[in-house]
Point group: C2
Chain length 416, copies 2
């Protein structure tokens, strides 16, 4: 039994029943928010809403708009449940009293996107869709391919022909049918939707399928559980996350809104302030925030942080609101600062891809600008493993010295 009442359009506010629509608002194409029966959930009480012996995102199944997807002892059941680290070195470096890094790299396909794909695959099973499809060259595609493979569903991934062969390889290893579209990302996006409609496939596209944000909101639930009772209302929590198409930050916001509706946010000192961080070379949403509008103007994105390199964010409106409605903000950082943030996180044992390191780079700027003050608690989300983009790690890491095989040479380099 779920508590899934239906959808509400984020643009016009129109409401729909669960089976009335599949993707976006029929009236205006707006992204749909999932509406839950908060009254019924409150009556059950939180102890009944968390499956205590499950450490994955399925721990929060009663708060999700899907039924139990089965797939016990498969990677589908291991998405989420990621660690929260508290590295003293980084706290000292930034002059913050309470800093946590939530690390999404131990997810089954090593990124935050597994949360969305796990819930989308659960929805596909529920509606009897054998084939799931998405347009993606990166983490979302890998996550869908991996989560679908885990439970024997076929995934079809549309990628622009120019997608890096290394990323395509991971999709194919997971048994996905990859179609390299002779066109750009938008052509792949449009064709994936056309094909889904024509062939009865279930489309995961970000900023289109309403269940992705529901999967992603589980990170907010984990932050709440990992910090509950440890924060005071006098100092509101700030959450920093990188932003590309805007769906992760929207999902986080939805999770905190769910907790607010259930009266549970007091346990972490109230609604967290949500800060989105973009590369200045892919800043469509940050631009809108700075201009005080919810209208997103596309950009020509060129950032090296490929997971957040987006010309036209598909979930921009909700992404702007995640900051404006919580007293957060958007920040932009240079690609140089993103690269520098990789070894900064590495120094405490966290290996982030550029998009993951972006959030930490943004926090450094926020501290400089006084947007976050030393006593305030902060969570930074690393959205993906550095192993996803070793080339950028190489650029960030610099060269190692070559030495003769002698103790004297070691002594010179190490000054011992």
């Amino acid at each position: 039994m779920t508590h899934f009442l239906g959808y509400r359009c984020s643009v016009c506010g129109a409401q729909y029943a669960p089976d009335e629509v599949t993707y976006t608002c029929p009236a205006d194409g707006g992204n749909l928010d999932v509406v839950l029966d908060y009254a019924a959930l409150k009556r059950r009480g939180m102890a009944d809403l968390i499956i205590a012996d499950d450490r994955s995102l399925w721990r929060y199944l009663p708060l999700l708009p899907v039924r139990d997807p089965g797939g016990e002892q498969t990677p589908l059941r291991r998405a989420g449940g990621t660690p929260m680290y508290a590295p003293p070195l980084l706290s000292r470096n930034l002059g913050l009293a309470h800093l946590w890094i939530k690390d999404e790299s131990p997810n089954p396909t090593a990124s935050f996107k597994d949360r969305a794909s796990a819930v989308v695959v659960a929805r596909a099973r529920e509606i009897g869709a054998e084939v799931v499809v998405t347009a993606s060259t990166g983490n979302a595609g890998a996550a869908l391919a991996g989560m679908a493979a885990a439970v024997g569903h076929q995934a079809v991934i549309f990628a622009p022909r120019t997608a890096p062969p290394a990323k395509i390889a991971q999709l194919r290893v997971f048994g996905a049918q990859v179609l390299l579209v002779d066109g750009n990302y938008d052509a792949a996006f449009d064709l994936s939707i056309e094909a889904a409609n024509a062939f009865g496939w279930y489309c995961r596209n970000t900023g289109y399928n309403p269940f992705t944000a529901e999967g992603k909101k589980t990170a907010a639930f984990e932050i709440w559980e990992q910090l509950r009772g440890r924060l005071s209302p006098a100092r509101r929590l700030s959450v920093f996350v990188s932003v590309g198409d805007g769906n992760i930050i929207s999902g986080l916001h939805k999770g905190f809104k769910d907790l607010h509706a259930l009266g549970l946010l007091d346990e972490i000192g109230g609604m967290p302030r949500i800060f989105g961080v973009q590369s200045e070379n892919s800043a469509a949403i940050a631009n809108a925030f700075a201009a005080g509008t919810e209208e997103i103007e596309p950009v020509h994105a060129t950032t090296l942080a490929d997971s957040i390199s987006v010309d036209l964010p598909r979930d921009g409106l909700r992404a702007v609101r995640a900051a404006t409605q919580t007293g957060g903000a958007y920040l932009t950082v240079s690609d140089e600062a993103i690269l520098q943030a990789i070894p900064a996180l590495g120094r405490v044992g966290i290996f982030a891809e550029p998009a993951g390191a972006t959030a930490y780079a943004g926090l450094a700027v926020a501290v400089q600008q006084g947007l976050v003050v030393p006593e305030e608690p902060v969570v930074v989300i690393n959205t993906g493993s550095g192993l996803k983009d070793v080339k950028s790690a190489m650029r960030a890491a610099g060269e190692a010295p070559i030495i003769e095989p002698t103790l004297a040479a070691v002594r010179r380099i190490m000054a011992v």
Copy 2:
């Protein structure tokens, strides 16, 4: 309080107190087994030996020869605790009734080696060694660099000058001092030991430091916990693992021997049979097993599975015994079979590096040869993430088709 009594040489059987030696047997250079006070451990009882609310390898702290290393809320506390998957598709493909894959890729640096490095770093903290050092170009180096960074220790990694820059980058991101030795792996290995001795650094080298196997044995404890009460003595468990220098298989064996000494193996139907799998292009230990000897002859290793490409295995003797003393065996597989095993595992959502896929390839051979029969329960260990070696994944995955951006083109490829 630990139950660490000392060491016993695997060659001559000589015993040493905990602080009497640091690495190998002073008499003959043999690898040392850690000796625990099993009588005292039995008196405590297993319920008291497992820290129930810890999901990492530190869950088994009372069974480890180190004290609590601290480092709460750091990656050091997240090594181990890896999932056990039961993919129906693979069971069907191999005709096995009970098949599990233990997936080590969610470890903090994405390989089995984090188990060893976590315990070695704990030992370094205990003996006051600020600097940890190893010779490695791969997973062991990354694991030491990551685990050391997690708790603010300096890691020094000696690598041959020819090591792949992508692997070096990960070490440097973790803040390790990487020294590229103008020589081969053996030169790096020797220099790392010389430097450790000269400068008071603590050396993690595999097949040299007795604590690596103690970390690795925790995987056996997890297998025991994950399967206890589910196996009958009528069908002994078989465990398949890839073998390079021989330390992982030795560590697994040690873990099962610990459980045997504590009288706990009956819960999984007795001592598992341990099967080592090597590439036929790096088969020094399999050769010794086939020849019925514990003497290891070095080979000229050329396998593409770089994590198990080893000329002279440093833990060969104990690795042979892991099979001979448990009724297991050694198998060799071609590099072609290793590559094919990558998408075979991928089809159920598990992305393995070549060395990880090797164990699965070996199981397929064992089934063909009748070494494992359909009713017998089997665990295969994937030792590392496929993201560690995307180049091999690309070779294994093949090319994706390029299509025009039309439905007709999708229809042709997908036959829908």
